[in-house]
């Protein structure tokens, strides 16, 4: 216990303690990784980063914690159109939903916020009488640069 772990708990840790979800050294490490990630980490990257904080973190704990975060709507799970293999990517859920676009040629990932997307979700809730908890729109295609060079 080198440092007082309670300072700057971060939003994810705060959510855990509010909800009475048990906090462990391993979870603290994984949460910190997710909090500070610039974006779109896969499980292997998360494990590697978490091990740097707490070397005892095991692969299975990473998966279990990701599942927990997902269940609580704190992270989103993405395929990114499986551009780089079959695995999944994770990112901290932010205020506004965004669309992910993946270029099938150069592999670049782009994000896009759209009011029409919000309208669409409202339509689904109304017309299908379906209460939306999580949504994911992924698009594969060709980015401007790649279209230019054919």
């Amino acid at each position: 216990m080198p440092l007082p772990q309670t300072e700057i708990p971060g939003r994810l840790q705060a959510y855990f303690s509010e909800r009475g979800i048990r906090m462990t050294q391993q979870r603290r490490a994984i949460l910190q990784v997710m909090e500070t990630a610039s974006k779109h980490l896969d499980a292997a990257q998360i494990l590697r980063k978490a091990k740097k904080i707490d070397p005892s973190v095991d692969r299975s704990t990473v998966y279990r914690t990701l599942k927990l975060l997902k269940r609580n709507g704190l992270i989103d799970e993405l395929d990114l159109m499986h551009i780089h293999g079959e695995g999944h990517y994770y990112e901290r859920k932010v205020n506004r939903d965004h669309i992910h676009m993946a270029c099938l040629r150069c592999g670049k990932i782009m994000e896009f916020v759209s009011d029409i997307f919000e309208n669409l979700k409202q339509q689904v809730e109304k017309d299908c009488r379906f209460k939306i908890m999580v949504s994911r729109l992924e698009i594969g295609g060709y980015c401007t640069a790649c279209r230019a060079q054919q």
Copy 2:
């Protein structure tokens, strides 16, 4: 060779011969499964069904053929919000794109066709100057029935 295999080739088989893609006994079986599927089969189900038509079909051939079909835009790959495990589901691509909704409580999968979805894709193509090849909108939440019984 009990039956003449060339009759009623089906659209997928037709596409293959038009494009000069080699047709094998194993592919014929897998394509037949995809053609006749009512919907949303995972790889294990596809393998089992294909084996009934041609017992020699191997797991790896199923995956390789699914990848081929995907590359050619003939099938869509879905997560269905990972309601039943982490695997993927496959369905024959039809004329109009549709949204998939998965009930987090009863597991029911619903489909929905929406003009607003089409508008949204047009917006992405225009505003992001991105050429869309494939898109996938999946929504998790609660269906009418499950909302009723809370």
